[in-house]
Symmetry: none
């Protein structure tokens, strides 16, 4: 059968001409395609309304193939969420690095989080409803990625305390809950308002940061000698850091 044979050769050529050359690469790119297709459907329609056949069609594979890469629909959804967390963490880190003060960092983080969860709100449902309840959440991929993400916030807060820009008040996990919880709830409210816009986002961010920063230090008495001393220490520390850097350069 020369015809069949020819078609096979053509197929092989086509595949070789495509960027993914090695077997491993091909498998990897297929996994990426599946995750991308799943992500698209999940964001557009939510978990319940995305079907595996939809995903398979969009990814250009057979339905059965999905199960070679992910044990079931939940696992696939989890992979999508993990990828989302990864992106979120990266952009959060680079954004924070560009901010000078703790206040600016927190404002950036809040706006960043809010804007992203508004865009991909359907993924949040997954985290809340499916992932956190089922089986051993701790130790799962999502758990780890979530830890890494909130660590960005934790670092900013720790640093802020060290710098003296926020007071060392309640337990860290409580502050964290207040920060992210408020934002997620605000997201719902914003989505319900017909014309929710940047002004509203800015208002939520401002108020939340005010609470987290100002709320803690509101307990302190009017600025006094202790505060002055602390301020001087901070200037001193900053100077020392500069000196160290200069020394290295020379």
């Amino acid at each position: 059968m020369p015809v069949q044979k020819k078609s096979r050769i053509v197929k092989a050529r086509l595949r070789q001409s495509s960027p993914a050359a090695t077997r491993r690469e091909r498998v990897q790119s297929k996994e990426d395609a599946i995750i991308a297709a799943a992500h698209k459907s999940l964001v557009a329609r939510g978990f319940a309304k995305t079907t595996m056949s939809q995903i398979a069609r969009n990814a250009g594979v057979a339905e059965g193939t999905l199960y070679l890469y992910f044990s079931n629909k939940n696992a696939l959804a989890r992979a999508v969420v993990a990828a989302f967390y990864y992106r979120l963490t990266e952009t959060a880190k680079t954004g924070v690095a560009k901010c000078a003060t703790t206040r600016q960092k927190l404002e950036f983080l809040a706006r960043h989080h809010l804007e992203n969860i508004i865009g991909e709100r359907r993924l949040l449902e997954l985290i809340a409803s499916d992932v956190r309840n089922t089986q051993a959440y701790e130790g799962s991929d999502i758990y780890k990625m979530n830890r890494e993400y909130v660590a960005v916030f934790d670092d900013v807060m720790r640093d802020g305390v060290w710098r003296g820009e926020i007071e060392d008040g309640a337990a860290q996990w409580i502050k964290r809950d207040i920060f992210f919880g408020s934002l997620e709830y605000a997201m719902r409210t914003l989505l319900m308002k017909k014309r929710s816009n940047k002004k509203d986002i800015a208002a939520v961010v401002a108020e939340l940061v005010k609470l987290i920063i100002g709320g803690s230090s509101a307990r302190a008495k009017p600025v006094s000698d202790r505060d002055l001393i602390k301020a001087v220490e901070r200037v001193d520390a900053a100077a020392s850091r500069l000196e160290r850097l200069s020394a290295v350069k020379m």
Copy 2:
């Protein structure tokens, strides 16, 4: 088929001996039974894992009967959530009425909310994932019941401002989001901790109320000190910028 007939007669006798006499009452009590059965399964297993046949069996009706009372599984779940909100609102109102100060009212509301959503956390998933997204949420039963529930909080806040026990800071809806959002997120954290207990709940409640009440009044301060702090911030920020520049150069 005498056997069939007999069983039907027995059923009928049993039914007649039950208290509900009129047609309307019988229908009502059947609806209640269905909602109760659905509630039980939803709380125990979550939306995805409760089946209509399960509910029908527990309610003592045929599967088709469910669809005489609720157009589909979602509508049934919504009815369950509405009933939950109703109960929640009632107990919240009576509880608040017993408190003297705004602080006490807020503490009660926070604890009450947290304890209840921990107990029926699976219903919360429904609200977030299924109900709020689908169709016209506004105008729905759930929307109305949710409004009534949060109105309890709003009233307490308004009253607190009027009494002068809290300052009139940010927009009401933002405070509301911070209050309920923090609690819902805290719930997840508490559920993940192995031995989450009353101490943790108390800590969250205390910190949140502190923020809501105390945070707003943080603005009034001597000017000169603030200027001083600002100046130090600027020095510190400048130092950070220098550090980053040096790092890049090297």
